[in-house]
Amino acid sequence: MISLHGTVAVGAFSRHFSLEFGNEIVGVFGANGIGKTSLLRTIAGLCPLGEGELKVNGVIVDAPAKKQFVRPELRNIGMVFQDHSLFPFMTALDNAAFPLTMRGMKRNIARKLAMETLEQFGVANVAEQLAPTLSGGQSQRVAIVRALIGSPQAVLLDEPLSAIDDESRESVRNQIREHLNRLGVSAIVVSHDRTDFDHLCTRIENYTR
């Protein structure tokens, strides 16, 4: 569950949000510049809230007035970044296994689990390739695996299907939905494509300027 009542402020941008998300997949829709990515970065803890209060699963993670701020590494949130942000010096498999090793799992077990999830997303064949050698679509699938794999308590997906070709879009959407349903946590999907929302989300929040 995510509850945010406050101002998201990044640089010159500032916008008030008032939202309550249960354990559902919510699509956030709106024109460029309305603060969709800033909203996700604030929930992840990469940008502090300007004012107000942010709770994840009932726990306050950011409340400037109360001087409370939980650092991103302690929030246990899975996130697909818009540009994927895969570590360039690691293989696809090590990228995917990273969140598991951060939770103390042994490397070989983490790699085995990551390999299974890469298989489900159809990118097991590139597991041993370094991240910069992957195509846009492959890189995005690895980024999705990386966001879903560590049993996060909320998942944020910033344009998660933008680089996936039309033929595989449906199967990737199905995989994401299946994983999110299994996790049973709040998930926020930011996208420009209404069909992604129709197939993936249980609810849509439309923001205008």
């Binding site: 992840a44 650092r71 590494e73 970044f81 942000s85 570590f87 010096f89 990273f98």
Partner: protein, 266 residues
């Protein structure tokens, strides 16, 4: 099609050729003076071996010490806004532009046994005398090598895109883990370049070392000091040791070729 900027006038070419000759001639002169048939025996002479051993030990120790001091310094300069940042940067660069002998005198002022700010305390409390000791050589070499490492690391840290560290943080990587698993691999090219430059500078150190640590064979006499000393007593040995130092420096340049001189060939 030749553009105006790609045409090189004759006088520029001649100037460049004179520049190349100016740099190459001393190396050729040095190679010509080396008694190649006696090279091995000169390099295995006791004084030369001592000097090489001390040089190697002190330069590697100084590079490691520079890393321990330089990494936090570079981090703060690259990623923190604080009062006096420009002053700290100037201080870091100072040993680069300072005459090394002056650096040695300054080190005496800080760590000299009798008159140094800290030297007396170090001697009486901890029992360490830095002047005229191997420690002194290491300190002098660290003093002159540190700026090279800090500059390389600061540039490297600035060029790292913060998105990778942000992604690692969201995935649960705490400060030290994030540094070891993400920042350090991204910093590797700058780190290697900085370490090699700092080590080469430490290896070639002369002025600060002779002023602060002296020139005692078997104790503080490094390879450059031995070259200087042998030039009068054993010129063949001096040339042999010099050519070895040239070879080492060429090795460093070859090691750094992709980073520093690779672009020139394209």
């Amino acid at each position: 099609m030749n553009s105006v900027s790609s045409r090189t006038p004759r006088f520029v070419r001649i100037g460049a050729l004179i520049g190349v000759l100016f740099l190459a001639l001393p190396i050729v002169g040095l190679l010509k003076r080396v008694a190649w048939s006696k090279l091995w025996s000169q390099l295995t002479d006791v004084a030369t071996r001592d000097a090489l051993r001390i040089s190697l030990y002190a330069s590697v120790s100084a590079t490691l010490l520079a890393l321990v001091l330089g990494l936090p310094l570079a981090w703060c300069l690259a990623r923190m806004q604080f009062t006096g940042r420009r002053f700290v940067r100037a201080l870091v660069l100072l040993p680069m532009v300072l005459p090394p002998v002056v650096g040695g005198v300054a080190l005496l002022g800080a760590y000299g046994k009798t008159s140094g700010l800290l030297g007396g305390v170090l001697d009486s409390v901890v029992g360490i005398q830095l002047t005229y000791s191997l420690w002194g050589v290491i300190i002098a070499e660290t003093f002159v090598a540190l700026p090279f490492l800090v500059l390389a690391l600061e540039g490297g840290l600035r060029s790292i895109d913060s998105k990778y560290e942000e992604a690692a943080a969201v995935m649960g990587a705490k400060d030290l883990t994030r540094f070891m698993r993400v920042t350090l691999p991204l910093l590797k090219p700058s780190l290697v370049a900085g370490l090699m430059l700092a080590w080469a500078r430490a290896l070639g150190e002369f002025g600060a070392t002779i002023t602060f640590a002296g020139n005692i064979q078997g104790r503080t006499q490094t390879a450059p000091l031995a070259v200087y000393t042998m030039l009068e007593s054993n010129p063949e040995g001096a040339y042999a040791l010099s050519v070895l130092l040239v070879a080492i420096c060429v090795g460093v340049l070859v090691g750094l070729r992709d980073r520093w001189i690779g672009g020139a060939s394209q």
